[in-house]
């Protein structure tokens, strides 16, 4: 049984005088114990809101609606009361944020912030808590931990702060760790150190990890299962290897084709996805990626694309997916020869104008 089972999670933000934003729209995924699951997408795709909803960190106020289920070991995290949630947070589920400086309290020494978790969830205090805290800092690779405990966040470098944050997160040996862009604010060499540390922690303690990132390179090195998000929906779910060798959703293919690779040749033209994330359909139904998609067909706009399940833990939301043989090596350069795959009812027709084209200005 899965450790965390998110089903049809939707988050809507309503504000008077503003357009209602459905930031997360029916997201489902599951995380097994000890598994590393990636949530990948560009800014605005709902990956962070998903994690905040699971952690119960979204503001509880009128206008913010969270629907769906998030079953964590039998408890629905979206329905528990605040007291229970406070017990779960930090003990069973912990989170690491992108910017370590703004998620650490600047006026408290590191030691206080680590022992706080130990006191709250494990009932440790005094010398025992301090010893445990020093051990934790040592475990995440902070040199001279007993001295570091007395220091303040501003005295540590960016990488060390992120390590301190990880130490706080793993203090209670949580069963699930959510890392929201944990290395985006760091330099590559420090990023490599932190990713290696996270990998070690997962391997040694059997903690499951949800890795939220925009970097497909990080995903390729870490995740077991990957969920690609676009405009609040999971558009493709696959195991790591198949996702990279045989991406089916045009958005995944587009992403893979648009990033320059370190081991690629100089001067090879990238094939970017035209338009920007802001290009959405003027109506709610239909595939959100359709305006930017090179494989769009009229049925893209009829209704929300159904989730197509294939064998071997793989699913995608697309009525006209990229044929399996075409990996990123042979990009979906046009919609002229779509393969007649299941679900692609109108696959024979090419690019009629049922879908508004990507806005001119960004179709370089």
């Amino acid at each position: 049984m899965a450790l965390l089972e998110v089903e049809e999670l939707s988050v809507t933000f309503r504000q008077r005088g503003r357009r209602t934003v459905r930031a997360v729209d029916g997201v489902s995924f599951s995380v097994d114990a000890g598994e590393v699951v990636g949530l990948v997408g560009e800014s605005g795709c709902g990956k962070s809101v998903t994690s905040l909803a699971i952690m119960g960190l979204l503001p509880r106020q009128a206008g913010v609606t969270v629907e769906g289920r998030a079953d964590f070991d039998g408890t629905d995290l979206l329905r528990v009361d605040r007291r229970t949630m406070r017990d779960i947070r930090g003990r069973d589920i912990a989170m690491i944020f992108q910017d370590p400086l703004s998620s650490l309290n600047p006026v408290l020494p590191i030691g206080r912030q680590v022992t706080e978790v130990l006191a709250r969830h494990r009932g440790l205090s005094g010398e025992a808590a301090r010893r445990e805290a020093a051990e934790l800092l040592d475990r995440v690779g902070i040199p001279d931990p007993t001295r570091r405990l007395r220091e303040y966040p501003h005295q540590l470098s960016g990488g060390m702060r992120q390590r301190a944050l990880i130490a706080i997160a793993v203090a209670c040996r949580p069963r699930l760790l959510i890392a929201d862009e944990p290395t985006t604010a760091l330099d590559v060499t420090i990023q490599a150190q932190i990713l290696e540390l996270l990998k070690e922690l997962v391997r040694d303690s059997g903690t499951a990890l949800i890795m939220i990132t925009h970097d497909l390179g990080v995903v390729a090195g870490m995740c077991d299962t990957v969920n690609v998000l676009y405009a609040g929906r999971v558009v493709e779910t696959a195991r790591r290897r198949p996702l990279f060798t045989e991406p089916r959703h045009p958005y995944t293919v587009g992403l893979l084709n648009s990033i320059p690779r370190l081991d690629g040749g100089r001067g090879e033209r990238l094939s970017p996805i035209p338009g920007s994330v802001r290009d959405v359909l003027p109506w709610a139904d239909g595939c959100a990626f359709a305006p930017r998609c090179s494989r769009q067909v009229p049925s893209c706009v009829g209704g929300p694309p159904a989730l197509v399940l294939t064998h071997t833990d793989r699913s995608y939301r697309c009525v006209n997916p990229v044929p399996p043989a075409a990996g990123p090596a042979t990009p979906a350069d046009s919609g002229t020869a779509p393969a007649p795959t299941a679900g692609g009812s109108a696959a024979g027709e090419t690019r009629t104008t049922a879908v508004p084209a990507a806005r001119e200005e960004e179709s370089a």
């Binding site: 560009e42 800014s43 040199p143 001279d144 220091e151 303040y152 501003h154 005295q155 540590l156 470098s157 960016g158 990488g159 060390m160 330099d187 590559v188 060499t189 420090i190 990023q191 490599a192 990713l195 290696e196 925009h214 970097d215 497909l216 390179g217 990080v218 995903v219 390729a220 090195g221 790591r240 290897r241 990279f244 060798t245 587009g254 992403l255 893979l256 084709n257 648009s258 990033i259 320059p260 690779r261 370190l262 081991d263 690629g264 100089r266 001067g267 090879e268 033209r269 990238l270 094939s271 970017p272 996805i273 035209p274 920007s276 994330v277 001119e360 200005e361 960004e362 179709s363 370089a364």
Partner: protein, 382 residues
């Protein structure tokens, strides 16, 4: 994609002779003073942001500068344009030495060297519409006879960067990130420069939009024969668009190589570590490759290590020469490397060893809470 080539008049757009250099930087140093005191600022040390850099940017090519934050790459870019005054050293731009140039002539020279910034939102005035943003530079440099002529020029530039004409009357906030970066590029391009210094041109953009801007920069270079100095921390991006890549560490160039060689045959230990740290979106490559994890953080440029600046983190550091002798850039094959042992590391004669991390303080952080940072240089006191 057919576009009218020459955006500008003048000789700037003449097809460049491949091979000659547009910019020559010799022993450039930028030191920022650290001052203390209430009434009189006492100089108690220097942050050596750029500490003796030599480089040559060939005309019509792209030179990429990479390095971690704080290595001085942005300061170097700004010092080349004299936006930051160099402490010493020379910058020769197209045969003219910039470092000694009087202010008015320097201002006139700026037409030929433009800059693209990282965050298009903060580098564009929110109260200026696109037309006003683009026309400002033209007016300052007296390009275009009248309003109509200038208008023609900016419409052509907008077309070249892929923005529609109606954008002229819009304001920066009405555009997406990618489009804003296009406006920034148009602003640089409208003056018909020879050199464009792009400081992190795509790092604020989403992945799918990054590629659009990278391709645009590529196309513009082909059409207009521009010379680029691209400064970025993303090695994959830099390697993709550059002909030559310079790797910086604590204010100095540690390696300079043609971009293909940099990945296939990195010679400096730092370059090797950097290359191995960049994630590649391919599980097969990721699983196979050997990571060289560097211990610790970048030391403070106010108090750089003696000798080779990388020796405190270098997995190949040797007890001799590395701690006390500063390596010069030496030519090995097609690369230039600042490492005493580059050949012996390349041949496999020297092996990697464990390095223990040394704690590095972020700037402005003192040793104990409550005291100010003290650069621990000889002769400095607070």
């Amino acid at each position: 994609m057919t576009r009218e080539a020459a955006v500008t008049d003048g000789a700037a757009t003449a097809v460049p002779e491949r091979g000659d250099s547009l910019v020559e930087v010799r022993d450039l140093k930028v030191h920022f003073p650290i001052t203390r005191g209430i009434l009189f600022d006492r100089v108690v040390g220097h942050v050596k942001a750029v500490d003796g850099v030599d480089l040559t940017i060939p005309r019509g090519r792209t030179y990429g500068l990479v390095g971690e934050s704080g290595c001085g790459k942005s300061t170097l870019g700004r010092a080349i344009l004299r936006l930051t005054r160099p402490t010493s050293g020379t910058v020769v731009f197209d045969g003219i030495e910039l470092t000694g140039l009087p202010a008015d002539r320097m201002r006139a020279m700026r037409r030929r060297m433009q800059m693209i910034f990282q965050d298009p939102m903060s580098s564009l005035d929110p109260r200026q519409n696109v037309e006003s943003i683009l026309i400002e530079g033209l007016q300052a440099h007296g390009i275009g006879a009248d309003r109509a002529a200038r208008r023609k020029l900016i419409t052509r530039t907008l077309d070249a960067v892929g923005l529609p004409t109606w954008a002229l009357s819009r304001y920066p906030h009405e555009f997406s990130g990618g489009q804003r970066q296009r406006i920034g590029i148009a602003r640089a391009l409208v003056l018909g420069p020879d050199l464009i210094v792009a400081d992190e041109p795509v790092s604020a953009l989403d992945v799918s939009v990054q590629a659009q801007v990278i391709n645009l920069l590529d196309e513009l270079q082909e059409e207009l024969g521009l010379t680029y100095l691209v400064i970025a921390h993303d090695l994959a991006v830099v390697r993709h668009i550059s002909d030559v890549v310079g790797v910086m560490y604590l204010g100095t160039l540690v390696e300079e190589a043609p971009s293909d060689r940099l990945y296939s045959q990195p010679l400096h230990p730092y370059t090797r570590a950097l290359m191995s740290a960049v994630p590649v979106p391919d599980p097969d490559v990721e699983d196979r490759r050997e990571r060289i994890l560097l211990a610790g953080d970048l030391p403070s440029p106010a108090n750089p290590p003696t000798g080779c600046r990388f020796h405190t983190r270098c997995p190949w550091a040797q007890p001799t020469r590395c701690p006390d002798e500063r390596p010069e850039l030496r030519t090995i094959g097609a690369s230039r490397v600042a490492c005493h042992w580059a050949e012996r590391i390349a041949s496999g004669e020297l092996r990697r060893h464990e390095v223990t991390a040394q704690l590095v303080r972020p700037e402005d952080a003192g040793d104990t809470p409550g005291t100010l940072a003290t650069p621990s240089e000889p002769g400095s006191f607070v």
